[in-house]
C-alpha cells in the first residue's frame, strides 16, 4: 500500500494532476531549439516572397483547367516526326555520354590533386578544391551559353558546357571517395617504397572504383536530363525539338519526345543499379 502511494506521487509530480488520465511525455527533456526557429524562419521568408512576387491568385486559379488540357494534348502522341525525334534523341544521348567520358578522365585527374591523402600537399588540395567550387557555383546552362558564344551553335558547345560542370562535380565527389580510403591501406604501400603516383594508381583508384561507377551512373542520368534543357538554349538535341514543337503548338510531337526522355532516363537508372550490384 505504502509502495503504491509512493509510486503514484512520483508519477504525479511529472505532470499536472487532473481528472482525466494524464498522457505520458515521450519527448527528450532537453528540446532542440534550432528546429522551431528554423520553421518560423521558413514561414517568414515564404510570406515575404509571396508579397514580393505579387502573385495573381485569381488569374492562376482560372488557368488551372488548362493544365489538364495541355497534358491531354500531349497525350495524343504524334509519331509523324519520329525520324527527327529519334535522330535528336541519339544526339542528346551522345552529348551526355561524351561529356560524361571526358569528365570522368578529368575528374579522376583533378580529384587526385584535390584529395588530401594522395600527394599530402595541403596547398594543392585547397587550390584545386576552391577552383572547382567556383566552377560548380555557376550553373550548367550558363556554361553552355558561354560555350555557345565561344564555339558557336551546336552539340560541341553542349559537350563542352556540360563537361565544365560535370568535371567540377566529379572532382569534389571523387576526391571525397579517395579520401575515404583508410590511411592504413596507403601506409601499407608507402612502406614498400612506392611513389605517391604509383600508390594512387595501384591502391587508391582500384579501391575507389565502385564508388566512381556509382557517381558516374548518377551523373549520366543528370547529364541526360540537363541535355534536354540545353537543347532549348540552342545546343542541339531533343530539347530543341521539345521547345520548338511546344512553341508551335505541336503537342503530339512534344509528347512523344518527352515520353522518350523519361524512358531513356529510367533505363539508364536501371542499368546502373544492376552494374552497381555486380560490383559489390
Amino acid at each position: 500500500m505504502n509502495v503504491n502511494t509512493m509510486e503514484y506521487s512520483a508519477t504525479a509530480k511529472a505532470r499536472p494532476v487532473s481528472g482525466k488520465k494524464p498522457s505520458i511525455p515521450v519527448k527528450c527533456r532537453q528540446r532542440n531549439r534550432f528546429i522551431p526557429a528554423f520553421l518560423i524562419g521558413v514561414a517568414v521568408l515564404s510570406v515575404l516572397s509571396l508579397l514580393y512576387l505579387e502573385i495573381d491568385w485569381l488569374k492562376m486559379a482560372s488557368r488551372v483547367g488548362d493544365i489538364g488540357l495541355v497534358f491531354w494534348d500531349l497525350a495524343h502522341l504524334d509519331f509523324s516526326n519520329m525520324d527527327l525525334i529519334a535522330s535528336s534523341l541519339v544526339e542528346t544521348i551522345s552529348i551526355a555520354v561524351l561529356s560524361l567520358l571526358y569528365s570522368l578522365l578529368l575528374g579522376i585527374f583533378f580529384g587526385m590533386l584535390a584529395a588530401r591523402n594522395v600527394f599530402r600537399l595541403p596547398w594543392l588540395s585547397v587550390l584545386t578544391q576552391s577552383f572547382f567550387t567556383f566552377l560548380r557555383a555557376v550553373p550548367t546552362p550558363v556554361w553552355v551559353l558561354l560555350m555557345l558564344v565561344c564555339l558557336g551553335m551546336g552539340p560541341e558547345a553542349g559537350v563542352a558546357g556540360l563537361c565544365v560542370h560535370t568535371t567540377a562535380f566529379f572532382t569534389k565527389s571523387f576526391a571525397q571517395s579517395f579520401e575515404s580510403i583508410p590511411d592504413e591501406t596507403i601506409e601499407a604501400l608507402e612502406v614498400t617504397g612506392a611513389s605517391r603516383l604509383s600508390i594512387f594508381m595501384n591502391a587508391v583508384l582500384p579501391a575507389a572504383l565502385s564508388q566512381i561507377v556509382a557517381w558516374a551512373g548518377m551523373r549520366l542520368e543528370t547529364n541526360f536530363s540537363e541535355c534536354a534543357i540545353l537543347g532549348m538554349v540552342g545546343a542541339g538535341g531533343i530539347g530543341y525539338v521539345i521547345s520548338n514543337s511546344l512553341q508551335g503548338y505541336d503537342y503530339g510531337t512534344a509528347g512523344v519526345a518527352i515520353l522518350l526522355v523519361f524512358l531513356v532516363a529510367y533505363g539508364i537508372e536501371r542499368v546502373f543499379v544492376r552494374i552497381k550490384k555486380k560490383f559489390y
Binding site: 591501406t185 601506409e187 612506392a194 611513389s195 604509383s198 594508381m201 591502391a203 582500384p206 572504383l209
Partner: protein
C-alpha cells in the same frame, strides 16, 4: 657482426605533449627475432614506425643498414624503405584487387616510371609471387578477390608483399591481434620460418606474452616510452613482467601453460 638496425638515444614527442619514446637505444643484428612487449601506449607502434620514418622522430638517430633514416627524403627514403617490409594488424590489403595483385604491390618500390604507375609487373615477379603464395599455402586463391578471404588467410597474404620486397628487416605491428588462436599460430610459425630461411631480422609488436616467450630469440619490454627489459626469453621473470606492465602477475591475462595452474586455483 655489423648491426642492421641501431637506435641511438631516439626520442619522440607528439604535439599533444605525449613522450612516446624517451632516449631509446638498442641494436639489432641479422637473424634475430625480437618481440617488443608492453602495455598500450608504451610506445611499441611508435618504435616500429620510427624505423621506416612513417613517424618522424624528434631526437636521436635511427641507423638502418648504415644510413641515418631521419636525414633521408624523397627518392632516397623510398629506396631505404624497400629494405624494410611491414605487416599490419588489419592486413591493409586492397580488397577490390586479386590476391596476386596485392602480393605484387611489394615490388612497386622497384618499378620505375610508367611500369610502377600502371603496375605492369615483370614475368619474373609474377612467378615469384605465385611461388610465395604456394609457400604460404594460398596457391588456390591467387586469383580470388582479397575481400573473399578469411582473417587468417588475409594476414597470410599480408606477409607476402613484405617478403616480395626482399627486405633485410621485417616489422610486424601486432600481426595476430585480430586472429583466432589457430590462425595466430599459423602466422607466427610462418613469420619465424620465413625470416629464418631468408635470414631476415624481424621485430614483432605483441600483446601475447606467451607467444613472445615461445617464438623470440630476444624480448624488449617497453614501459612509458623506455626500455625496461632487453634480454633473452629465459631471463624474463615475474619481477620483470611486473615492471613492464606496472601491475602484479595475477592481474594479467597471459595465456599459455604457465598460467593454467593459477587459473584453476582461482576457479576452485
Amino acid at each position: 657482426m655489423e648491426p642492421i638496425l641501431k637506435f641511438d638515444n631516439v626520442s619522440k614527442h607528439y604535439p599533444n605533449g605525449v613522450h612516446a619514446l624517451k632516449e631509446v637505444s638498442f641494436e639489432l643484428c641479422e637473424g634475430e627475432f625480437v618481440s617488443v612487449i608492453g602495455p598500450s601506449g608504451s610506445g611499441k607502434s611508435t618504435l616500429l614506425r620510427a624505423i621506416n620514418r612513417l613517424i618522424p622522430i624528434s631526437g636521436g638517430t635511427v641507423w638502418l643498414d648504415g644510413q641515418a633514416v631521419s636525414a633521408l627524403r624523397g627518392r632516397n627514403l623510398r629506396q631505404l624503405r624497400r629494405k624494410v617490409g611491414m605487416i599490419f594488424q588489419n592486413y591493409n590489403l586492397v580488397y577490390s584487387l586479386s590476391v596476386l595483385q596485392n602480393v605484387l604491390h611489394g615490388r612497386l618500390g622497384y618499378m620505375n616510371g610508367v611500369k610502377g604507375v600502371f603496375g605492369l609487373s615483370s614475368e619474373d615477379d609474377k612467378q615469384e609471387g605465385l611461388d610465395l603464395l604456394e609457400e604460404l599455402g594460398l596457391a588456390d586463391f591467387a586469383y580470388n578477390r582479397a575481400s573473399d578471404l578469411s582473417g587468417g588467410q588475409k594476414q597470410r597474404v599480408g606477409i607476402a608483399p613484405a617478403i616480395m620486397q626482399g627486405p633485410k628487416l621485417l616489422l610486424c605491428d601486432e600481426p595476430i591481434a585480430s586472429l583466432d588462436p589457430s590462425s595466430a599460430k599459423t602466422i607466427m610459425d610462418l613469420l619465424r620460418d620465413m625470416t629464418q630461411k631468408r635470414n631476415i631480422a624481424c621485430i614483432v609488436n605483441l600483446h601475447q606474452l606467451d607467444v613472445a616467450l615461445k617464438y623470440s630469440t630476444r624480448i624488449i619490454g617497453l614501459s612509458k616510452g623506455e626500455i625496461v627489459f632487453d634480454g633473452r626469453p629465459e631471463e624474463m621473470d615475474d619481477a620483470t613482467i611486473e615492471r613492464i606492465y606496472g601491475t602484479s602477475r595475477e592481474n594479467l591475462m597471459i595465456g599459455g601453460e604457465r598460467n593454467d595452474q593459477t587459473d584453476s586455483a582461482h576457479c576452485a
